[in-house]
């Protein structure tokens, strides 16, 4: 079959947006290698998700079905995807560097005897001599890596690859029983405490407003949320406030949290530690509000407002709301 296999993620029948960026990366890879790509989705009763993937120009879409895949677990998914990749003869396996991608892609690489380039931001060079660029040291250095094995696994940073767009042609969609050895599985999904939010998700939002320790206490985080809501944006946070338990873990932006690249990023009361910058410096326009004129965040900000956030954030929120009318 196709030489590139893209793993699409779904949860409860809903396709993850990050997977569209993985498909975008697969298209780039296909152009470079002159190959074709196939999309696989795993789960239980996922024919509907597979059908949603029919319009992206893939040589085929396959739904890998198994009871043991009803909820994501690393062991079962690695078997399903790994065994399918092996059987299909894919030379490249592409996934998004989401929490699921990070969790299971290395296991797939191990099953395939493949080398894996993690969290890549671009694919360079020509077929036979491909080089993957990836950030190291919290993005202070970009490394160029080459993979020496015949089969290659890559996880791609969604913010750095374009989301695939529908091409109009319909790929052949098939379902098949996934190859999973249920007896070998020694882990079970128990549950998910979901962070419910009516806001756009942090990684998809075109505006992100993040708050840091400068907000002083949890109740003041409402200032950041109100500004985000006025702009129709998502809310992010520095590690300092997540560690303090002010906001959900899922809101952390940075090297060890989420990487975001919205059109507009507003950092409120955040100093701009290198680990925080690693997660947001790809944003198109960055605004920093901080009372310390020497805060490192100003080195990456397009617009810096040196001021007490308690005065200017409510003012900014009110004036933006008034502009909207």
């Amino acid at each position: 079959m196709a030489d590139i296999l893209v793993l699409a993620e779904q949860q409860l029948g809903k396709l993850a947006k990050a997977s569209l960026h993985a498909i975008g990366a697969a298209k780039i890879l296909a152009e470079k290698t002159g190959g074709t790509f196939e999309i696989a989705v795993a789960g239980q009763g996922v024919a509907g998700v597979a059908a949603q993937l029919a319009g992206f120009g893939a040589a085929g879409v396959v739904a890998l079905e198994h009871d043991a895949l009803a909820q994501y677990t690393a062991q079962a998914y690695a078997q399903a995807f790994g065994n399918y990749a092996k059987a299909s003869g894919a030379r490249f396996v592409v996934t998004a560097a989401t929490s699921i991608g990070k969790d299971c892609a290395p296991r797939i690489a191990a099953r395939l005897g493949a080398g894996m380039a993690a969290d890549i931001i671009s694919i360079e060079g020509a077929a036979g001599a491909l080089v993957y660029r990836r950030p190291m040291w919290a993005g202070n250095v970009i490394a160029h890596v080459k993979v020496n094995t015949p089969t290659v696994v890559v996880s791609v940073r969604p913010t750095d690859f374009p989301a695939a767009e529908a091409t109009g042609t319909a790929s052949l969609v098939q379902s098949q029983a996934a190859s999973v050895d249920a007896g070998s599985l020694r882990m079970q999904y128990v549950g998910l405490e979901k962070v419910e939010s009516s806001r756009p998700s942090l990684t998809d939002a075109s505006v992100v407003v993040s708050g840091g320790r400068g907000l002083k206490e949890p109740a003041n985080f409402a200032l950041v949320e109100k500004l985000a809501d006025t702009l129709g944006g998502a809310v992010g946070a520095s590690r300092a406030v997540v560690d303090s338990g002010w906001v959900p873990n899922d809101w952390q932006v940075g090297q060890t949290g989420k990487v975001v690249a919205p059109k507009l990023y507003i950092a409120v009361g955040i100093s701009g530690a290198i680990q925080h910058l690693a997660g947001m410096k790809g944003s198109r326009t960055i605004v920093a509000i901080n009372k310390d004129a020497d805060a490192p965040i100003f080195q990456v900000a397009d617009y810096g407002l040196v001021a007490d956030l308690f005065g200017v954030v409510p003012e900014l929120t009110d004036k933006l709301a008034a502009r909207k009318g």
Binding site: Q75, A110, G115, D119, I142, Q188, V190, K194, N249, G304
Partner: protein
Amino acid sequence: MKILVTAKRVTDPYSKIVLKPDRSGIQTDNVEFKMNPFCEIAVEEALRLVDAAGGGEIIVVAVGDEEATKEVRTALAMGADRGYLIEADESKLDSDIVARLLVALVAKESPDLVMLGKQAIDGDNNQVAQLTAEYLGWPQATFAYKVELTDGGKGAKVQREVDGGVETVQVSLPAVVTTDLRLNEPRYASLPGIMKAKKKPLETLTPADLGVDTALKVETVGFEPPPSRAAGVKVKTVDELIEKLATEAKAI
């Protein structure tokens, strides 16, 4: 409860990392080295789990050059019982080699749990634990936020930090666990701990001793500095900020 835990030697997360002018690697003068912060959390959790289990043994391992002995000693000073240094040139390692070294050590030691940091803050690869788990055929719980032993120490219930919230998984032991930031606050080594650590067993091995092939699957062939952002401007008022965002940046 027997736990194998890693202690990678990395650059201090608060050091400024820049490339050498010839781009062959990073400048290390004036850069401090220490244990990967996520490994510190793993060592701390191992200590707590052994306590919770009513006893056991913690074996710490670092893969790297001789200097990494310091990180092994630090973990021993925190309370681990024995250590290994697997001596290897850091620039000639990839995640897969490290994983296969751990697999070989697991064969030797038969631990109930292998605990690692979720990523090393230098390479940011986030792969070794998952590779190790697959090679062993073991379950894994990455990005742990809370770990509880269950079934009289035969299993573990792990809460994990994932996109969208906190997920809970149940794994049977033996298993691989990686630690996220909020799992615990690692203790500092006490002075008596440091004294005791000097006498704790520390064995040095090579990949050859463990029968591990060191051909690189993934090779770093070059480095470049990250794209720099052009310096921006300071605005004086909220009105000026809104004006710039609307007309110049067209961001609102």
